[in-house]
Amino acid sequence: MLKWYKEIGKNNDVVISSRVRLARNLKSFPFSAKLNEEQALELVENLKAATPVLESKSEKKFYSCNIDGLTDSEKTAMVERHIISPLLLAREQSTGLILSEDERISIMLNEEDHLRIQSITGGMNIMGAFAEANAADDVASELFDYAYHEKYGYLTSCPTNVGTGLRASYMMFLPALNVTGKIVKLAEELSQYGIALRGTYGEASKSVGNLYQISNQKTLGSTEREIIESLNRIVEQVMKQERRYREYILTHNYDEFEDKVHRSFGVLKYAKQLSSSDAMTLLSQVKLGIDLELLHLEDDCNVHELMMEIQPGNLQCLLDKNMGSAQRDRFRADYIREKLPDMV
C-alpha cells in the first residue's frame, strides 16, 4: 500500500491531506504530569504489546519502537512527515511509537497523553482517516482499560482535549489566499467558529510553501461526526475562496503569473544549491502552476511528496550519511532536478 503522501487524493489542488488524532489515557497509570520514569517505561512497554494485536486485526504490518532507539535524523524525518510531534521528542520520560508500514496510522506512546492515535490520508478524506483511527482505538480499548468518565468522556491530560479527544485537521495548500493577504483575516474568522488555522511548517501567519493546517478546537459536547461535519463545511468554504482567488489571479495577472511559475521551474531545474525554504517556495509555485495548467510536465509529479522529501531530516535519511548544510543544499538541488519531470 502507498504511503499516504504518495497518494493523490480528492480535491488535491487545495487539500493535501486529512488527519485525525484521538487522545486516550489508561485508567491505571497517572497522566504525564505525575508519571515517574519507572512508570513511563512500564507504560510504553505495556502499550507496545498492542502491536501484534493491531496487526492481526487489520491487513497491515505494524512496527513498534522506543523513541530513544532512533537516530536524530530519523526522529527529525518523522516529525517532517507528521508521524510524530515535536512534543514527543521533547518529553524527558520514556516514549514510544507504533507505526503502520504505510505510515497512515501512528500511535505515539506517552506523549502528552498515554496514547495519541493518529491516521493520515492524502486529499480530502477525513472520514476515511477517522475510520482507520477509530478501528485502532477499538483494538486498544479492548486491550486496555481507558480513563473514561460518564459525563466528561475520554479523560485527557489537558482540559482542551477532553470528551472525544478528537482533533481533525486538514493540510491545505492556500497560495492564492496567502498572496492576496487574506490568511490572517481568515484565521481570525475561523477562530470564531472554533476552528484554528496555522502554518504547517513554521508559525501561525508565516507558513513555508503555503501549507496550512485547519483543525477543530473543541472536543467536548459534540459527537465525532458533528465535529468532522462542521469542519468539513468550513473547509469547503475555504476551498471555494482559495479557488476563487486563483481564478482572480489568473484573469488579472496571467502573464506575470505564468512568468513567475516558469521562472520557479527554471530555478528548480538548474540551481546547484537550494535551501529548504527556497525549495519550498519554488515547489509551491510549481504546484500551483501545474494545478492551474500553466505548466505542463512530461510525467505526473506529486509536488507535495517532493516537499516532504526535501526537508532536512528526510534528505539526511535518503542519503544515509551525515551532511553539512551546504552539502545538503547541493544534494537537495540534485535530488529535485532528478525527480522533477521535464516540461512538455
Binding site: 504530569a33 477499538d138 482540559p159 477532553v162 477562530s191 467536548l220 459536547g221
Partner: protein, 182 residues
C-alpha cells in the same frame, strides 16, 4: 476596569501570559477571553499551551472566589487529588490533570471552566466498547421480573392492555419457576 482587547466591556478575567520569559499582563472581558482561548488552544506548541494554562487558571480562580482575582490560590482548604496527590493550585499552574481521578477531585469549578473552554461540559460522542453508564449498570442488575414489571407499568399507563396481560402472565410464570427452583 475595561477590557484591554476590545476596550468596551468590563474586564472580568485577569490574565498573565509568559512568553520567552517575558511577563505580559492583561485584563480581558469574558468574550475576549473566550476568543483568546479558542485561538490559542491545542497548538502543541509550548508557548501557547502555557497561555492556555494560565488563562484557565484565571477563569477557575474567578469562579472559585468572586471578587478576588487570585482567589483560588489563597483559599484555606485547597482540594487535593487523593489518588495522584496533585493540588488544585498545581493543576491551575500547569493546566494539566495528574490522573483520571483529578477530574472528580477538582469537580468544583471544573464544569464552568469546561463550558468556557469547550462550550459544553458533557460528552456526547463515542464510548469505549463495553462501557456501561451508571443507569445502564442499574438496569443490568435488575432481575428479569423487575424489568418486566417496569414494562408492565408502562403498558398500563399507555393503555396497551393486551401487552399488559401478556407481561402479567409472563411475570406470574417466572415467579412460579422461582418458587419451584428454590
Amino acid at each position: 476596569m475595561l477590557c484591554d482587547k476590545c476596550k468596551k466591556n468590563q474586564a472580568k478575567v485577569y490574565y498573565t501570559e509568559i512568553i520567552n520569559g517575558e511577563k505580559k499582563e492583561q485584563h480581558l472581558c469574558e468574550d475576549c477571553a473566550l476568543e483568546y482561548t479558542s485561538f490559542s488552544m491545542g497548538s502543541g506548541m509550548s508557548n501557547q499551551e502555557i497561555t492556555l494554562g494560565s488563562l484557565l487558571s484565571s477563569i477557575l480562580g474567578n469562579y472559585a472566589a468572586p471578587g478576588s482575582l487570585h482567589g483560588a490560590e489563597q483559599t484555606e482548604k485547597e482540594p487535593v487529588c487523593d489518588h495522584c496527590g496533585m493540588t488544585y493550585s498545581e493543576f491551575l499552574k500547569e493546566g494539566r490533570f495528574g490522573c483520571a481521578d483529578c477530574y472528580d477531585s477538582f469537580k468544583k469549578g471544573l464544569e464552568k471552566s469546561l463550558r468556557n473552554i469547550q462550550g459544553s461540559d458533557t460528552h456526547t460522542g463515542k464510548k469505549p466498547k463495553g462501557f456501561e453508564s451508571g443507569t445502564e449498570k442499574i438496569v443490568k442488575e435488575l432481575s428479569e421480573i423487575d424489568k418486566l414489571s417496569i414494562k408492565l407499568q408502562d403498558a398500563i399507563e399507555k393503555e396497551e392492555f393486551e401487552e399488559a396481560a401478556r407481561l402479567r402472565d409472563r411475570i406470574r410464570q417466572l415467579k412460579k419457576e422461582e418458587i419451584n427452583n428454590a
